[in-house]
């Protein structure tokens, strides 16, 4: 059932709402936890999740 539930969403390298369970970790990857839903407007994405 990997990838089914969307309960593990994180921001990976600036891209919000990625499923942590579906992306393999690699060196220098920047992973941040999400707080709330992402903003649909890309220019707001980074700051709004801080």
């Amino acid at each position: 059932m990997m990838g089914a539930c969307f309960d593990c969403l994180v921001e990976i390298d600036g891209m919000p709402n990625r499923q942590a369970c579906m992306v393999q970790v690699r060196p220098d990857m920047v992973v941040r936890s999400m707080s709330g839903a992402r903003d649909i407007h890309p220019e707001h994405t980074d700051r709004d999740n801080d």
């Binding site: 969307f6 992402r38 903003d39 649909i40 890309p42 709004d48």
Partner: protein
């Protein structure tokens, strides 16, 4: 315990048997319970082609009934009943339905589409004696209302009577309210046979049950069941595919005919109308066309990921309008079928169920008899 008896294959006796445990069946079952009736719902289960689990969730008035004004009137009656229906159901079920009736937009990509939409609404307005609120929004007016509107969109028509609701929560709430009032839902076995008896009906879903009255609300399943009780349900499937995106912060305050943002933030994007029989699969080419249109309407969606797609089958009568019929050959049997079970849920519970329960026929319902499909016999 009733469920235990059913599990053992022992039949029950019930005042009303509602065949079909989707939104239509549960709306009627709940409505009958409100009148003090004792009701059992016979649901095929999740293997059924369940329109209630796949639909878009609009409570929609705009443009409906241009060919049959009573359908516009019936739809508007239901939309106007929705707030009190919501209040009662949320109170009984303790489930929030996310009803939002702040108005809806039919967004048109081309000037031609916009003209056609306006012509349709003008015709409806005339047919309803001028009582039909709507507005025409050109590109700039639409962009003011929804800044994310794309540059190639011609405009939209707006109806203040449109809205949307979470259809899964609606179904869950109806189920909870029904059970809480003492109703029983059996699922996991399809009703194969209904046999009129000297008094009442025999319902066969593997076990044999008895009902004083029976209501067919089985969607596409009504086609097979209706002739068993002297009724006719000429319904066919029409497939719709839907895309659902990741959750994003609220940006869309209005329902639109093809795109709506649900309470949790996901953007739901429809839809297709495909004549493919009893097949509810999804196809990449249709999904791509749906996505392309959505990105023309709101280009910002290009950056948003689709996380789910599904197909579901609408329950379509030959003219697309509901069929409401009480059997004259087998008194006590009724048929209810429609493809707008969400919009019409309020009217089904508050107006149609009392008619099925033995009360007066509500307004407009006489226009939805099955006899309209029967060809006149030629001399």
């Amino acid at each position: 315990m009733v469920w235990y008896q059913l599990w053992r294959g022992i039949g029950v006796e019930t005042e009303f048997a509602v065949i079909g445990g989707g939104i239509v069946g549960l709306s009627l079952a709940f409505g009958l319970q409100r009148l003090g009736k004792q009701v059992t719902v016979f649901d095929e289960g999740d293997q059924a082609f369940r329109a209630s689990r796949g639909n878009f969730g609009l409570v929609w008035v705009q443009g409906k009934g241009a060919e049959l004004p009573d359908y516009a009137r019936w739809t508007r009656l239901s939309a106007s009943l929705w707030p009190s229906f919501r209040d009662e159901l949320e109170g009984e079920a303790n489930v929030r339905l996310e009803l939002n009736q702040t108005g809806g937009l039919d967004i048109c990509l081309s000037e031609g589409d916009l003209e056609a939409a306006v012509t349709r609404l003008e015709g409806l307005c005339a047919a309803l004696g001028g009582d039909y609120p709507y507005e025409l929004l050109g590109h700039n007016a639409l962009k003011e209302l929804v800044p994310e509107t794309g540059p190639t969109v011609a405009g939209a028509t707006f109806s203040p009577e449109d809205g949307h609701v979470n259809p899964l929560y609606l179904m869950r709430a109806l189920h909870a309210a029904f059970v809480r009032r003492g109703g029983t839902v059996t699922n996991g076995s399809r009703v194969k046979r209904i046999a009129p008896q000297s008094a009442g009906f025999l319902i066969d879903n593997g076990a044999e049950h008895r009902a004083h009255q029976v209501v067919l609300a089985a969607g596409l399943g009504n086609g097979e069941l209706a002739p068993m009780v002297g009724l006719d349900a000429p319904v066919k499937p029409s497939r719709g595919q839907i895309l659902v995106t990741e959750r994003v912060k609220p940006f869309l305050n209005y329902a639109t005919a093809h795109i709506r943002q649900v309470g949790e933030g996901a953007v739901q994007i429809g839809d297709s109308k495909e004549d493919v029989g009893f097949n509810d699969e999804t196809t990449p080419n249709v999904a791509a066309a749906i996505a392309r249109r959505a990105m023309r309407i709101f280009p910002i969606l290009e950056h948003v990921r689709v996380v789910r797609t599904w197909g579901a089958l609408r329950v379509m009568s030959p003219d697309g309008f509901p069929i409401y019929q009480q059997s004259t050959a087998c008194p006590g049997a009724s048929l209810v079928t429609c493809h707008s079970g969400v919009t019409l849920a309020a009217a089904h519970t508050l107006e149609l169920a009392p008619w099925i329960g033995g009360g007066a026929r509500p307004p407009y319902v006489e226009s939805f008899g099955v006899e309209r499909f029967q060809l006149p016999t030629s001399a």
